[in-house]
């Protein structure tokens, strides 16, 4: 009886100590705990805590990120810059590499966009005219990089006034249509006067799908 009690107690505590962390039982147990936490709604929805005062008070630029087919939104803060691309980090460790709001790469989403030529396409998207090839790199199940090439064209739809947490922006709405071997998608960009993509709906990849981004 005592033995079972000890065992159950330790199962509840999970594994202890650094050497136990790579035990299969410990990892599976951690996974269950995380799933249970998510199911119980422990994750705070990012958009709940955001107010204009909080955004203005923040030391770093903030962005709101929400996959279209999920209910949760995440807050990202600008972390580092390499050339024209800024890497934004979320609290739980995901990252987005953006050029003025255009997604170049992601990390931590499970099926990340490992790299793309989006940074070179920024000028064409800003222009609202033209045709080009998008190149996307993803990882496959065997850790190999698979490249996806998409034929894209970009068109200007209309001028649009948008409001982001109390602040309004005059923007041009640009739509990008892309077709590839197994994929077709349309991205929407609301671009302000200085070339910042204030609000957008962009395709990351299969499984992640379309995401909404707002630069706050």
């Amino acid at each position: 009886m005592m033995k079972y009690f000890t065992f159950v107690t330790l199962m509840i505590l999970g594994a202890c100590g650094p050497l136990a962390q790579s035990q299969p039982t410990a990892l599976v147990f951690d996974g269950f705990v995380r799933l249970a936490g998510d199911a119980l709604g422990n994750r705070q929805d990012g958009s709940d805590v955001v107010t204009r005062e909080a955004i203005d008070a923040s030391l770093r630029p903030l962005a709101l990120f929400a996959p279209v087919n999920s209910e949760n939104a995440k807050l990202f803060a600008a972390e580092g810059q390499n050339g024209t691309v800024v890497t934004w980090l979320s609290e739980d460790g995901d990252s987005l590499a953006l050029r003025n709001g255009l997604i170049v790469a992601t990390r931590g989403l499970g099926n990340d966009l490992m790299g793309s030529n989006a940074s070179q396409l920024y000028a064409s998207i800003l222009d609202g005219r033209g045709q080009y090839v998008r190149v996307h790199d993803y990882l496959d199940g065997e850790d190999q990089i698979v490249q996806s090439r998409l034929q894209c064209n970009v068109e200007f739809l209309r001028d649009d006034q948008i409001e982001i947490f109390g602040r309004t922006f005059t923007t041009r709405l640009i739509r990008e249509n892309c077709t590839g071997a197994n994929t077709t998608f349309q991205n929407l960009y609301w671009i302000d006067g200085v070339g910042l993509i204030r609000q957008s709906r962009q395709w990351v990849g299969a499984r992640v799908g379309l995401v909404d981004i707002q630069l706050l």
């Binding site: 136990a20 499970g110 850790d143």
Partner: protein, 700 residues
Amino acid sequence: MKLPQCCLLAVLLVTGASHVLAEDWRGSYTLYGTSGLVEMPSAFSRPDGEIGVTLGGFETQQRASFSFQVTPRFSGTFRYARFAEFTGPGTGDTYDRSFDLQYQVLTEGPLRPAVAIGLRDFLGTGLYTGEYVVASKTLLPNFRTTIGLGWGRLASEGGFENPLGVLDRSFLERPRLDSGVGGTPSWDQFFRGDAAVFGGAEWQINDQWLATAEYSSDSYQRETRVGVVARENPFNFGLSYTPQPDYAISAYSLGNSDIGLSATVILDPKTRIAASGFEPAPVPVAARNGVVVPTESTVQAATAAALMKEGIVLQSLSISDSTAFVRFANERYRAEAQALGRVARVLTTTLPPEVESFVLEPTRSGLSLSRVTIRRSDMEDLENRPDAAATGFARSTITEAQATPEDAGVALQNDRFAWGLAPYYALQLFDGSNPLRGEYGLQGDIRFALRPNLFLEGTARYRVSSNRSGARVSDSVLQPVRRNVALYGQERDIAIQDLALHWYERPGQSLYSRVSLGYLERMFAGASAEILWKPVDSRLALGAELNYVVQRDYDLGFGAQDFEEIGGIYDVVTGHGSVYYDFANDFHGRIDVGRYLAGDWGATVALDREFPNGWRVGAYATLTDVPFEDFGEGSFDKGIRVTIPLDWALGTATRGNTDVRLSSLSRDGGARLDIDGRLYDTVRDGHVAALQDGWGRFWR
């Protein structure tokens, strides 16, 4: 020779086919766990690398099978079957292992059917033994047919004179199976004796439902004779439900007299739900902008702290002119390339701007495995670009790590003592008399490092479940070096699994050595020394190992077991010379020659399919000078082993693996010491082949 009328019709159907190929078919697994119809095989292969685990059966027979598509044309299946009421109603059960092979000789073409040849239960004691040649063709996008010729058990229904008899008269008679102790291929039986036709059709109703019908050439002759099976006719029907690609559930009507059920779990090592994983993002590359130059000691402290967050331990860092030399131990990422990428990124944020070249040495057990040189400018240029991984790999150089580095720098003080406490479970499947034996409890690990390459490591277990008593220990003329494994740890609940001092060194360029002293594994204690020659970019490696061990006490304490039969403790000198070869196409071969634990001499051959993501599936066989009769049931040691990387299964970054071994009963012939930390697996992760396989994760 006469062919039944129905079979002529089937032949016509097959040859008058349309141009449809089987590409989107899910297909199904049979009750035997192979690709096929209901019980009969078909010529279609499963997708390359697929693993199917099937549990199925009917009233008096149940089968658990493990099937692997080794190459696009070649597949093997291991099966464990229970025969209830084996010798008649009311009698006891028998458990039997069997192994199948199938090779697809011709793939399906627009007009050509797929053709395969197969051996069913060709080792073992022959309850299912049969051979076949089969052809299959997709006639319509959702309809395909199969027809084949079977021998042995697959000719028990409607058998006729063997058509191969025209080649040689000896094919006409099938000699009685003299399996002896089983486990050897029954060469003199293959394709002999009467043959019979079998066939069937599959109809893919929609994405999730598949219907199958077959004419079976297996009449369950022995089972009918003893009165446990009574098939009314040779027709079987099945219905399979496959809601997801990962599993299928099927129901069957067998000969209008039995209902069969099966469930299959399908694993595809090549696909992963979250291919890039959910681990946190790496540090972004920091471009150099005229930063203040920090002193070396703060650089080291900042780098060590930043790497610790990534699960990487910095072991030494030194800067000389524009080159930084970094040695680190990756404890988190399965792909060493991913650790290299993380280290390089961190270095761009902590090193002074004049450092242009990063010389990185991944280590394991204190051994530097290789030397990877990466330019900081490449890190800045390639981040987030397409082809970043391939371009980066081409621009970096990988060479041998220096044996005694002159640029050791200041070795940092790392934590010396580590411990862990976690629940554990240990399962033993398909023991001769029991399909499943298990135990679970608490496991404690300790590790005390005097230096990174000299450390004491130990594991102790406290068993919570009731002990596995009643395991049978069979008789043999050999010293019970493995046969009595069930007696170990039976009495007491606390056991010392292992406790040993390990010392790793690099005696020279491309040379690695290990010396271990102590309680090396569960059953043996002593001394073990090993040396390995493996150049960083070589497919070939050579190794040698020499051990002197004493058999431990059954109570898994600190003592040695006293054996009455030999008048004292059992000690033995064992050793092997090994050749390892990494073939280019995901295959890996290994040969070990030497002396095994029971004092026998022989060789082990192993062949594994190694996927770049850490999955391994392979088989091995050991032949020694122990005669088959002395070895016992199974004749010689052979088995299948599967390694599943845990990051593949769970999506988090971890170096952990689960190893599954399906092998003959624990026998004494061909037994090797089971030591953790042998050199080849320690060292190969940091060499060119493994780095190249995993370089896709460099930027992850």
